[in-house]
Amino acid sequence: MPSDYAFVGLFLVFGVAFVLFVFLLSKLIAPYKPNPVKKENYECGEVPIGQGWVQFNVRYYLFAIIFVIFDVEVVFLFPWAVVYKSLGFFAFIEMLIFIAILIFGLVYVWRKGALKWV
């Protein structure tokens, strides 16, 4: 039993050591010539406004909540997809119903204006 954990410990040591080694290597080899443009935050090519470390607007929470729900529903799709061929037509219809219910939810959310940026 303990020997199994020895492997895990070994992996842990190697993993940490490898990351440290790579950082050290880049520090040693890479040239370091900073200028203001280089030190800016990266925001997909846009000119950044303010600091990167800000409190996010509370308006994001609605999108986050909707994302959480729809994201997790995918968990039902995976097992279904894995055994899809052996399940046949009936399971296909069942999954269509399931997705239709999700779409009901999405339509409701959309009509209620929760997807609009107010």
Binding site: L87, F90, A91, I101, F104, V107, Y108, R111
Partner: protein, 485 residues
């Protein structure tokens, strides 16, 4: 796994499917209908419930099952479906004028009510802990939202938050218990557990511990859902803060659903090891009755009073788990049927007494002398209170009588003596409401109120129902006796 091994039987779950479809339609109509046409939504809700009721009646006596025991239509499940559907029907009627008064006529409210009812029906009509858990969660999540429905009201928000935090905490205990029981037996099917329970578990060695720890966690989880002391803290606050029809709803359906699941799990699946868990239920029953009644004595807010009374009534029902005989189970069915009628009737009176500005819950200010100014409300409130206290010839009397007598037959005389003393204590605070309504000079602001049709209908139906069950209890009792598993 081969799909043909799953016996798909849509007929068994038609009542549930109807509720789900109507729920979705209500949601979509809420999103698409213009504001002035939303008056039809509550009517759609009760039509859905009535249709589901019709199909449940059709299934009664069939004993169908499907989906490998995950869905059942035995009489026990259907009897509980009747209880849930009737209570939801009454709550829809209660909500019509309440929401109009609040200027919140919304389809999602009714959709959530229907979904909650669907969840309760799933809880009562399954042999599988998975489905029981899913049903319970459908109920809980719907209720968290509904109890916070008055978004601008800080009390409603607080009720919703307390309900949510304590509720999901309790849910985690419940599923931890289910996990341990699954670990012990290798299945979550109650029928198989019934077969396996007398023997040691599949997982030899730690089996005893897993099983008993699992039962303990289950009792904590369900104890919360049925609000038995010491897991009752959420109920008074939720009752006070939640919209009044929802408070009535929580006291009726979800509580009955919790008892349905408890009955199936403990008096069916774990019936062979009953001596091991009887004492726990004995303690829970005594604590719930005593604490509920004693704390109710101090309440001047009627909704809180009914919350503590609901906790106490939960204690009376738990007596049946201690005795565990067939007559005790049918006693529970009778008790719950009577209880939803008297409680929802009382809530209907509270809603009638309230207005948009005030809730109509303050015993001293709003009820003093109100019985003389509103004789209809006064007389029926008296009936509901007498029934809750357990006076003959009301349904409440026979409900208590059947449970107590079955406990005496099973030899739990001490428990019944405690229960009777508790009933006597409870008479004080129920009668106090009647005394205030009829024998105190009325306060300035107590005026005759106009009762909307739907509320009057609920009060009339529940009042007549209570008297009818009190005078002719035999019919329902026979039905209940035929409905035990």
């Amino acid at each position: 796994m081969d799909l043909s091994l799953i016996d798909i039987n849509w007929q068994v779950i038609t009542p549930q499917i109807i509720l789900a479809v109507f729920g979705f339609v209500l949601l979509l109509l809420e999103a698409f209908l213009p504001k002035d046409k939303k008056g039809i939504l509550p009517h759609l809700a009760w039509i859905g419930i009535a249709l589901s009721f019709f199909f449940s009646v059709n299934l009664f006596g069939s004993g169908f099952s499907g989906f490998n025991g995950m869905a059942l239509a035995d009489n026990f499940a259907l009897f509980f479906s009747f209880i849930f559907l009737i209570s939801s029907f009454l709550v829809v009627l209660l909500s019509i004028s309440f929401l109009k008064r609040e200027e919140q006529v919304r389809g999602d409210y009714y959709a959530l009510l229907l979904f909650a009812t669907l969840g309760m029906m799933l809880m009562a009509s399954s042999f599988d802990l998975i489905v029981i858990f899913l049903g319970l969660e459908i109920v809980s999540v719907s209720l968290y939202i509904l109890s916070g429905f008055r978004k601008k009201d800080p009390k409603s928000n607080e009720a919703s938050m307390k309900f949510f935090l304590m509720g999901s905490f309790a849910t985690s205990f419940l599923i931890f218990g289910i996990a341990l029981i699954y670990g012990n037996f290798g299945t979550t099917n109650l029928e198989k557990i019934l077969f396996l329970a007398p023997f040691s578990g599949v997982f030899a060695g730690a089996s005893e511990f897993l099983l008993y720890a699992g039962i303990g966690f289950l009792i904590v989880g369900f104890g919360f859902k049925i609000a038995s002391v010491p897991f009752h803290m959420w109920m008074p606050d939720v009752f006070e803060g939640a919209p009044t029809p929802i408070a009535g709803f929580i006291s009726a359906g979800p509580k009955a659903a919790g008892f349905a699941a408890l009955l199936r799990i403990f008096l069916l699946a774990f019936s062979s090891i009953k001596p091991d868990w009887t004492l726990i239920f004995w303690i829970l029953a005594v604590l719930s009755m005593t604490t509920g009644n004693l704390l109710a004595l101090w309440q001047t807010n009627l909704k809180r009073l009914l919350a503590y009374s609901s906790i106490a009534h939960g204690g009376y029902i738990l007596i049946a788990f201690v005795s565990g005989s067939n007559s005790a189970i049918s006693g529970v069915l009778f008790y719950l049927s009577a209880y939803i009628l008297m409680n929802l009737g009382a809530f209907a009176v509270i809603i009638s007494m309230g207005s948009k500005e005030k809730e109509g819950t303050d015993l001293y200010k709003e009820y003093a002398g109100a019985g003389l100014k509103n004789p209809f409300l006064g007389v029926f409130m008296a009936i509901f209170m007498l029934s809750l206290a357990g006076f003959p010839p009301t349904a409440g009397f026979f409900a208590k009588f059947y449970i107590f007598s079955s406990a005496i037959k099973s030899g739990y005389l001490g428990l019944v003596i405690i229960a009777v003393i508790n009933s006597l204590i409870s008479v004080y605070y129920y009668l106090r409401v009647i005394v205030y309504m009829f024998m105190r000079p009325s306060a300035e602001e107590v005026k005759p109120v106009s009762i909307p049709f739907s509320l009057g209908l609920v009060i009339l139906l529940t009042g007549i129902g209570i008297l009818a069950l009190g005078i002719l209890p035999q019919e329902l009792l026979n039905l209940a006796y035929n409905s035990i598993f």
